[in-house]
């Protein structure tokens, strides 16, 4: 089947199988580099994208689902090379080591803060529960997020 959707603001059209995941289509067919495969079962968050502004695991989303929708990856956040506040905070706090988890982390934080600009620690940990980081021990990530939370 042929699907059409917007990917980071650009229209794309691609032929997909009805059983194909969005993750496969983005990575293998469209060459998107920032969306990562970690587990394929919703446990790691490396594959998260925003679909019509809401976070979804692309490994658990069938490609057909995004037909007519808007898919955003972390690549769409920076404007004219200028990083967003959250991205800058990640850099300043050394919140990325290997960087594998970073795009998913940034997108989840963005989705959280959009709905709730000043989350409590409990709300923050709850939101991030589906994003694994194997490098940082989470402390720099939490510090980066706290630095942009409006209190």
């Amino acid at each position: 089947m042929r699907i059409r959707f917007r990917l980071d603001g650009q229209s794309v059209e691609v032929d997909v199988k009805h059983t194909e995941t969005l993750l496969r289509v983005l990575k293998d067919r469209l060459g998107v580099g920032s969306v990562h495969f970690g587990c394929g079962e919703g446990s790691c968050g490396a594959c998260i994208v925003l679909i019509d502004g809401r976070p979804r695991y692309s490994c658990l989303t069938l490609a057909g689902y995004v037909d007519g929708k808007e898919v955003s990856t972390v690549a769409a956040l920076a404007r004219d090379g200028e990083l967003t506040e959250i991205q800058k905070a990640f850099v300043e706090n050394n919140a990325a080591q290997c960087g594998y988890c970073t795009p998913g982390m940034i997108l989840i934080v963005r989705a959280l803060l959009e709905k709730n600009p000043s989350p409590s620690d409990e709300e923050l940990f709850d939101a991030l529960a589906g994003n694994l980081c194997r490098c940082t021990g989470y402390v720099p990530i939490i510090n980066a997020i706290r630095s942009v939370i409006k209190r």
Partner: protein
Amino acid sequence: MSLITSGYFAPVSVREVLSLKRRLRDKALIVAGGTAAVQLISKMIVEPQAIISLEKVPLDYVKMRANSVEIGATTPLARLIHRKDLPDALKKAVESIHGLALKDMATVGGNIFTPAPAGDIATALLSLDAVLILRGARGTRSVQLSKFYRGPLQFNIKPDEILTAVRVNRPPRMSAFLKQTPWKYSGPTIASVAVGLDLDKNGKTRRAMVALGGLTTHPYRAKKVEKMITGKKLSEQLIEGAAQHLTDGVEVIDDALASSWYRMRVAEVLFKRILYNITAGG
């Protein structure tokens, strides 16, 4: 058009879903949030010829009535998270499932079908004596959730039917849900217990629903325990005695996550904690 039997279908009404089901029969897989269903596909456990996605079917709603709560089958858990008007057991079960993306995707209806270590929402709904609303080619019927599970991955649903809503009639005055996981955020369920209770003015139990999750493929009601505590005051002796019968006649899962012995002990502790909290709270 009517000859097409493979592909990705996103019908916009329950009627359309039902006519697709009639046409495609067991060739099609229903996908709601996809958190379990898509894994079945990507792990090649199933190879459906067609997908029927419920994403556009208007079953994403919560209806509060004077003495009932109805939740549409495709309502994502995120929709329930800030509602103060839901029964406590359901609220706590939703809170116990972590991760922003997961709560945005996972639906209430999908949880009913998803085996242990999932099924937390189903466990909470069992303790509220929830009813499932099923629609099929021949109309609508309702089935008590406690009569829905027939065995591992076997449900009281016909091939032409889908689940459209869950409804709690006469929610119990008190309800609670506790679950134990190996780590706090997003750990799999070792055991969960949900209790719904109505007490009379003398403090005797008028109605008791005790549901256990994580111990078997699908949650179940501990009927013996319910009988033991109904009509009586919740004394320490009664609670301790009843806790010994939570898994009567049940074969408890024994796997890498936890032994069956451990799961049973955890369930006892959670059950007692819930009842002692209730008796301490007056």
